[in-house]
């Protein structure tokens, strides 16, 4: 059956399921980690780098490709910055853990 139906509906199915997953996963995040959550999701939102790479992809380099390259750069700042700053932040939560009762 899946062959006959419009890709839109399949995408919609995936979308609906992904929202359920997101909803549950995010509510399970402990409040103390809400700031890291913001920065991790910010890093994940740079998944649009995939789109930027496709834009920068074609061999004949017209201005569209350069725009794509600029987008890749911007998104890359976000990818690295986002994940690394999250790591730095989470590293602190670890240290605290180890210390135990000072």
């Amino acid at each position: 059956m899946i062959g006959e139906i419009d890709p839109f509906i399949i995408n919609l199915t995936i979308f609906v399921l992904a929202i359920f997953v997101g909803y549950h996963v995010v509510w399970n995040v402990t409040p103390a980690l809400h700031t890291p959550l913001m920065s991790v999701t910010n890093a994940i939102s740079s998944i649009i780098i995939v789109g930027a790479m496709l834009a920068a992809g074609p061999a004949e380099t017209d201005w569209g490709v350069w725009l794509g390259a600029a987008a890749v750069t911007l998104a890359a700042v976000n990818v690295f910055g986002g994940f690394l700053v999250s790591q730095r932040m989470l590293e602190m939560f670890k240290k605290k853990d180890k210390k135990g009762n000072t």
Partner: protein, 459 residues
């Protein structure tokens, strides 16, 4: 790689993104979660690379961006997290606009037909619009949060009319774009320009302190936008990652509004949270308060049995987290039972105080959430309110108050209350605080860090 292999790799990356957020459910698994996020992103990027031809160009761009990102991540102060998120967010917005423009220029590279179908045009229009708004909004949020621009809401008459007018023009241009048979660049560029302007105009009336809600909302939007791109290029990974980000932003906005007891719409329509401009105690009588020095306070703290410290936005402003850690340790050595009480929206981001206290390596078991500690205030000798205001404002119990119904930390129930802040100025909500005028309250004026350092000396 075959389309099937690519799809499979994208599925694996999606699973890693889900596991990344799952990891944040506890501090122990959180670093592993972040690692999963990196792995997912690496898989996504590596897979996409096989679909492109300009490897060198792309890898070069990633390297440049990566180095900048790494430096920023390394240098930034923990107290500057809200600004940083806003800054990074603006990049995503701008990148989205670039992608949309480039897709209009060369749809084939995205697997779209040469002549864009109406559906794709609509999606690209939405993508540009949300991207542009995200950019303008985040830039202003960044400027306001980092103090480079005043946080005061910019309000002028006819504001909403102007916005409406621009929106109508934009939609008109959009229709022109849709119905043009070839690619109508004039319409598209005009549309994009107005979108930037509109994003700017919509954000300026929102007070600086409301920016976290705005950022979170824009984060959510950018997630939905990524999901939307996923729809138009038929990429389930973008749909899944986008939905995760979208849900997260929406839930965080909801949590913030809930904890502030303000409807989301009133935050977004703006005009609130002016930087303490409107003094509010206008009931005629001059209320009296008692102020003391850091030395007096240190003496009392040293002689008490139990102390609860309530940190707030002022702690972040003053960067007093390390000083307060020392104070807590010193009191602890003297046999005082010291604990920290965290209000869910203390500071300017959800979990803001937790990050700062974690940075100072304050032990886990001393840091308690509101629900865990609220019943203990009445048994406590001294509450030390450190740069907090609204989260300990008993006006939340008074019907008719703008913050009526907001859950607060019951500092007013303690035997003695000490409040460290620079003046009698109001906090985020612009409300006077009865707590400061109570008989058992002592105000200690000054920058939080300086005051705490003076206390340390005195002890």
């Amino acid at each position: 790689m075959s389309a099937n292999m690519v799809a499979l790799a994208y599925l694996v990356a999606s699973v890693f993104f889900i596991l990344a957020l799952k990891g944040l459910s506890s501090p122990e698994s959180a670093r592993r979660g972040n690692l999963f996020g990196m792995v997912g992103m690496a898989i996504a990027v590596a897979t996409t690379l096989t679909l492109t031809e300009n490897w060198v160009l792309i890898l070069g761009c990633i390297a440049v961006g990566g180095v900048i990102g790494a430096i920023v991540a390394k240098r930034v102060q923990m107290t500057a997290m809200p600004e940083l998120v806003a800054f990074m967010h603006s990049l995503v917005g701008l990148a989205a606009v670039f992608i949309a423009v480039s897709a209009v220029n060369n749809p084939v590279s995205f697997g779209l037909p040469e002549i864009l179908p109406m559906g794709s045009k609509l999606e690209l229009f939405l993508g540009t619009f949300i991207g542009a708004m995200t950019w303008s909004g985040s830039v202003i949020a960044f400027l306001k949060l980092s103090g480079r621009m005043s946080g005061t809401p910019v309000v002028f008459s006819g504001q909403h009319m102007l916005n409406l007018l621009l929106a109508i023009i934009m939609i008109g241009l959009g229709l022109w774009f849709f119905f043009s048979e070839t690619t109508n660049w004039t319409a598209f560029i005009a549309m994009t320009a107005i979108a930037f302007l509109l994003g700017f105009l919509i954000i300026i009336p929102i007070g600086g302190a409301d920016m976290p809600v705005v950022i979170s909302m824009l984060n959510s939007y950018s997630g939905w936008a990524a999901a939307g791109i996923g729809f138009s290029i038929g990429n389930p990974m973008l749909i899944i990652a986008g939905s995760l980000v979208g849900s997260s932003g929406a839930i965080l906005s909801y949590i913030m509004c809930k904890a502030m007891n303000r409807p989301f719409l009133s935050v977004i329509l703006g005009g609130f949270g002016s930087d303490g401009g409107a003094a509010s105690s206008d009931d005629g009588t001059q209320k009296t308060y008692r102020s003391g020095s850091a030395d007096d306070a240190a003496f009392m703290l040293g002689n008490s049995d139990s102390v609860i410290i309530v940190p707030g936005y002022g702690l972040a402003v003053a960067r007093a987290q390390h000083a307060i850690k020392e104070l807590a340790e010193m009191l602890h050595e003297k046999g005082v039972n010291v604990r920290f009480a965290i209000h869910p929206v203390a500071g300017r981001m959800p979990g803001h105080m937790n990050v700062l206290l974690a940075e100072a390596e304050i032990p886990y078991e001393q840091v308690l959430e509101m629900d865990e500690i609220n019943s203990d205030f009445s048994d406590t000798d001294v509450v030390l309110v450190l740069g907090a205001n609204d989260v300990v404002n008993p006006a939340a119990y008074v019907k008719g108050s703008p913050i009526y119904g907001m859950p607060i930390l019951d500092a007013q129930k303690a035997r003695t209350v000490m409040v460290v802040k620079r003046s009698m100025a109001v906090g985020y909500a612009g409300l006077d605080n009865e707590l400061f005028y109570m008989d058992k309250t002592m105000m200690i004026f000054g920058d939080a860090k300086k005051v705490v350092e003076n206390m340390l000396k005195a002890l």
